[in-house]
């Protein structure tokens, strides 16, 4: 009896049975052109090789929330790398975030992301034929840009990011696409979302799903103004299924 209680206490302290799949995480540095870029790496328990996912920050920078998403995906069996596109800057002040997003050179961000794929592809515990990307907000747009600029990316989950509505511009895309959009988003209009889906189909691309949730911009981030718990739960179910199918063959 006493042993049982003790065991229970240990389990609770360890965070319950969910924590059974242990994730190790650490800060790493990788090369992008002549520069060194920092990133947050989360690795599932076991030897692998695992599929891998590049996790792309919102306009706030590489904050704890993004790291938590990277760890969450690692628990599902992916090696995840969240690159620091702002090169050391992070904020919770929208005024500063506006400036950081506004000044980010797009060519450099895409180069950093491709370099993150390079890094993952070189890891012994990564199956380099199974690399995906996910991003939110600014990172949602960059998730699509990475998939357009890097044929190694097999799966692209973009959460309320900038869309591309020209079928010709979508031609280079090899990845399967999952779109997560909010109908109350004041920037990405639902008409744009549907045009994006049509353009993907017209270009003959692999569309897993382009989903619309009745929520505003940034609805998946707990603590944010637009956070929507139900929509977030539903979106994550889709994301997990999407990556399981495209990267784990389930």
């Amino acid at each position: 009896m006493r042993v049982m209680v003790l065991l229970l206490v240990v389990l609770v302290l360890a965070g319950g049975p969910v924590a059974a799949a242990e994730v190790k995480s650490r800060d790493i540095t990788f090369s992008s052109g002549k520069a060194d870029v920092k990133g947050f790496l989360a690795v599932p328990e076991g030897k692998g090789p695992f599929p891998a996912i590049v996790v792309i920050q919102e306009w706030w920078g590489l904050n704890q929330w993004v790291k938590d998403q990277a760890k969450r995906l690692a628990k599902e069996g992916y090696v995840t790398l969240a690159p620091d596109l702002y090169r050391g800057k992070v904020t919770s002040d929208p005024k500063v975030a506006m400036k950081l997003l506004g000044g980010l050179p797009r060519d450099r961000a895409v180069r950093d992301l491709k370099s993150a794929v390079d890094y993952l592809a070189k890891q012994d515990n990564v199956d380099k034929s199974k690399i995906g990307v996910i991003g939110w907000c600014m990172g949602g747009g960059y998730a699509l840009q990475l998939a357009l600029n890097d044929k190694r990316v097999a799966a692209c989950a973009m959460c309320y990011g900038r869309v591309v509505t020209d079928p010709d511009a979508l031609k280079p895309l090899e990845a399967s696409v999952l779109g997560v959009f909010g109908t109350k988003d004041r920037g990405i209009k639902i008409s744009d979302v549907r045009q994006f889906k049509q353009a993907l189909q017209k270009a003959g691309k692999k569309v897993y799903a382009i989903n619309e949730y009745e929520a505003g911009h940034g609805f998946m981030r707990a603590g944010g103004d637009a956070y929507d718990e139900k929509a977030t739960r539903e979106a994550w179910q889709e994301i997990d299924k999407f990556f399981a199918k495209t990267l784990q063959g389930k």
Partner: protein, 255 residues
């Protein structure tokens, strides 16, 4: 000629769309751009006769609002035919978060199409001297101005006020026109490291002549303010002197 077809004279009945404030003789008209008819903007015609140099003016994340309209008028008063493009296609911005949602959503191909249409439109105007076409933008619009200058050989001069830069020499090599960049030292978005990367890329592209100036004590958007007058009067005045000088040298004044 086809102006009547292209232009959307909103306020003929209402009187006019003339700017309030000092009547410098600039005439302002709302226009719908060709190629799809979805792009729009404000056309400002300076007083006087003959063909004039022309400028595309691009707003920051807050849209084509009063501060940007004042900038556009200021440039028209100095003799440029000005087309201030509304990249948000009519949507007005109320809050910072709204601005962010619009900024991060703006489809790049839509921007490219609107800017191509803007250049076509200006070059179709009888008042415009075709060889002297430039582009200027603030914040978000500064970044798009640089993109346009790279993509569009018809643009002979580009001013990027505090906007996004590129670090890719191959892109900068394609830029045919002259470049002036004005930045704020306290703008975390364009830190010294990024400006240094841009300088290196300029050098690798053989474009060392491009002008770059940093206003050390200023914050982003120092030339723009919701209130009349810029956020930083003295620095904004110096910035304008640099812009006026650059544009006069590269595009010339009205003749």
């Amino acid at each position: 000629m086809c102006r009547t077809f292209l232009l959307f004279l909103l306020a003929v009945a209402a009187g006019c769309q003339r700017a309030p404030g000092p009547p410098a003789g600039v005439v302002e008209e709302e226009v719908v751009l060709p190629a799809g008819g979805k792009g729009r903007g404000l056309l400002l015609l300076p007083p006087g006769e003959g063909r004039r140099p022309a400028l595309v003016v691009l707003h920051d994340v807050y849209g084509l609002n009063e501060p940007i309209r004042r900038h556009a008028h200021r440039l028209a008063e100095r003799g440029f035919v000005v087309l201030a493009v509304d990249l948000y296609r009519g949507e007005k911005i109320d809050t910072l978060m709204h601005a962010h949602e619009m900024d991060r959503a703006l489809p790049e191909e839509q921007v490219r199409a609107d800017l191509r249409a803007a250049v076509d439109f200006l070059l179709s105007q009888d008042e415009v001297r075709a060889d002297d076409l430039g582009i200027i933008g603030w914040g978000m619009g500064g970044g798009y101005a640089l993109d346009a200058a790279i993509a569009e050989p018809r643009l002979r001069a580009c001013v990027n006020c505090g906007g996004r830069l590129t670090t890719d020499p191959a892109q900068l090599r394609r830029m045919k026109g002259a470049f002036l960049g004005l930045f704020a030292g306290k703008d975390e978005g364009n830190p010294p490291e990024t400006l240094a990367e841009f300088r290196t890329a300029l050098k690798e592209a053989g474009r060392e002549k491009a002008g770059l100036h940093v206003f050390a004590d200023c914050d982003a958007g120092f030339m723009n303010s919701a209130k009349p007058g810029p956020a930083d009067e003295k620095a904004a005045q110096e910035a304008w002197e640099r812009i006026d000088d650059f544009l006069a040298r590269k595009l010339g004044r009205s003749s």
